[in-house]
Subunit: 449 residues, 2 copies
């Protein structure tokens, strides 16, 4: 592998330029900007640099770029990535323009650099380097690059169902991955699921003068009482059955958690908070982060929210909630339980609109792909990665992988302060090059299992 | 008086035009729009049409327009009105633009038409008509027209203290007044007080990806739990001491309430609601409307409230609450009790910003001004008005009147569906003309007491 690593280092300027170019395309799916250009650019990379068989697969939204590179064995490794990015606003908080793709102090600053173009190009570069040095790949590689991850992958489930054979694989490298603050690489083996719902409570058919509050029901109050019935001050979800399917932590889970690092003091200082939810710390804090389902208010709106005072009795109140789910919870069942719970508490009138339901997904630490990624990371970095049994985040991993029996592992080129979804999104060039090496090594190692 | 009524009818187009013109000025105090223009226009009316001695009296906010018209006797009747209006949003729910001042099917539709420009112009028109027909007024009239009623009259207390002699009067016609659904005029003899507060709860110093919700506190949840501790599903305020100063209803109160009409079925149909707060009806409903203090959510905002789903953990949550208070409650004491209550429940971190504190106020039904207004209304309308012992609404009546020993009575040109503070605010032209006649008659009648 030394020859391969050397090749990657010698060609690093070329690979960085590929990434800078791709990051200059403002492919914001939510705003339908630069999407076709980005898809074409990815297609071009796969054709030109990986000699892949490619196709653009239509969906009801933006197409999926698919590429396949044949190898010596029948074994198949897939890469799941996306060519869309988050909107760049607030633009004035960026140190350099979000789509200028500038390198400052060894860091590439650009929207999409960490999420997710850095990982995509690192994987294309790894395949390219392998082919340049050794010729044929030892295994088959499949690229699945969607264009709607940042808007909740609304068409990926349909895509996976229609193309189940095409995307079949023995393992999948998931889109994201980060380094800890201590410089160790993080390998994560799953994602939480999600039930994102909007609750709407209506009162009178028009906003009223608030003098009427003595006799006309206020939907904001009703929604607050309903929410209070859903989660109390101990942060425990009160919907009957909510925790029924949650699995107990295994000995191995506890072991993995104990090896994780969560920089409590740094987080407190950075976010200006005094404590974490329920005052937890240490092992409990990490357990809660990784293995607790959540019920989070993403947004609440009712009545007059402008400057100053307005005495109004609102006609409507809305709340957006995301429940993050852990194995073995079922988002569809959670929404049903929520409906039953609200009805039971006299809130039949509160409407539930599901806005994104995703199953949780996990891969076991002793899975061959997990082992390959862990050992490749150790080989490249010279130290053990930390292994997250599951990410606290969410993604369509279940639909694309677990549902089809494919294990999935996350490893990538981001860092703990990559500012995904925020101003000054960035990756270190050094991490990008290491990331290329890790993927090249995984390709080599996964052939042996 | 027939000659006077005839004059008013003959000049109704002129008076309606005065009102339409004034309603075209978007004098939104909360947003500092059109305020100077509106004050100047009122000043011009008083100078030109009432030959009043006028002055613009500076306050720490918008000035008070003051006008005095001398009459034959020493008796003084004052009119309290305001030239500011509520914000017009949501604009898309208006049938005609809020400041176009259009007349549709005999109704003037405009922000401020009912609250409060219709009443102000009706009083100016009444004085004008009286002068045109009879020359000198029988009593002195004082116009007190402030510019901050819709933002809680923050400077009226100071104004009243500094100008106690100037505003001295034997009675004051208060700014508002409405017709019932059955066409009977309502005369009301007091206002509820108010404690308007904004509560702010802060979490981390920036919005976060909602995957962090497992360990980082959500300020929207904390605010919801705090609100739940303030008022429960039975609509009873749970702040200790909140009801301590509330007076028992007298026999006369119960009598007045029994004569009031509240069109339950019409209200339900008009507002598309099934029942009133706590399911009350009949006498209980009217008692609750008039004599219950309230705790109303005027607005709640936190996190992402746009279209679709965004997975965010908000850094802040805000709620605007108005407590309507009844005699003998004290708004300053209520805010203190709220602070103590929040602290006691572990919400020391939730900030309270008072945004308007007003005492409740009442005038007795056998007061001479009350009698004048009741008889004038009967004379013009041909039927007895209903007498509200107190309005469910609020105003700075205590500071401007009761504190200085001045009785205050409300009568005006609105209707039961005038949509004050809401889209399609309106008055009937017919009610506007009747309102001018009533005031002209009161001027005549009050001279005799």
């Amino acid at each position: 592998m030394e020859e391969l690593y050397k090749h990657i280092e010698e060609h690093q300027n070329e690979y960085v330029e590929w990434l800078q170019d791709l990051c200059r395309i403002p492919s914001v799916a939510a705003q339908n900007r630069g999407m076709e250009e980005a898809a074409q650019k990815v297609l071009e990379h796969l054709n030109l640099h990986n000699k892949a068989d490619t196709k653009l697969i239509d969906t009801d939204g933006y197409p999926v770029v698919f590429g396949e590179v044949k190898g010596k064995s029948k074994r198949v490794l897939s890469f799941y990535n996306h060519y869309d990015v988050q909107p760049e606003d607030p633009v004035d908080l960026w140190d350099t323009p979000p789509f200028d793709s500038e390198i400052v102090d060894g860091k590439l600053i650009a929207r999409g650099s960490a999420d997710n173009k850095g990982n995509l190009i690192a994987r294309i570069a790894a395949v390219h380097a392998y082919q340049q040095v050794y010729g044929e790949l030892p295994i088959n590689i499949k690229f699945i690059v969607e264009g709607e991850e940042e808007i909740g992958s609304p068409n990926l489930e349909g895509f996976a169902e229609k193309n189940a054979d095409l995307i079949k694989a023995d393992g999948c490298i998931w889109e994201f991955g980060y380094k800890n603050a201590d410089g160790r690489q993080q390998v994560s083996l799953g994602v939480k699921g999600m039930a994102y719902v909007e609750l709407t409570c209506k009162g009178a058919n028009t906003d009223l003068h608030s003098a009427n509050a003595a006799v006309i029901e206020n939907p904001a109050w009703r929604l607050i009482w309903a929410l209070q019935s859903i989660k109390g001050e101990n942060n425990r979800v009160k919907i009957p059955g909510f925790y029924d399917d949650v699995l107990d932590l295994t000995h191995q889970d506890v072991q993995l958690i104990s090896e994780l690092i969560y920089s409590e003091q740094e987080m407190k200082e950075q976010l200006d908070i005094n404590q974490f939810v329920n005052g937890v710390e240490g092992e409990e804090l990490k357990k809660q982060l990784i293995f607790s389902p959540t019920c989070n208010i993403c947004g609440f709106e009712s009545g007059y929210t402008g400057e100053g005072a307005k005495t109004v009795l609102p006609s409507e109140a809305k709340v957006k909630i995301d429940f993050r789910l852990v194995p073995n919870q079922d988002p569809y069942k959670i929404v049903e339980q929520l409906r039953t719970h609200l009805d039971h508490h006299g809130f039949e009138d509160i409407d539930i609109t599901p806005m994104g339901l995703e199953y949780p997904a996990r891969t076991e630490p002793d899975d061959p792909l997990a082992k390959s990624v862990i050992s490749a990371t150790k080989n490249v970095m010279g130290m053990e990665p930390t292994v997250m049994p599951m990410s606290p985040g969410t993604g369509p991993m279940y639909e694309l992988c677990q549902k089809l029996g494919i294990p999935a592992v996350s490893v990538g080129v981001g860092n703990f302060a990559s500012n995904n979804h925020a101003p000054n999104e960035n990756i270190y060039i050094k991490d990008f090059i290491d990331g290329i090496k890790i993927i090249a090594r995984v390709i080599d190692d996964f052939a042996k299992h």
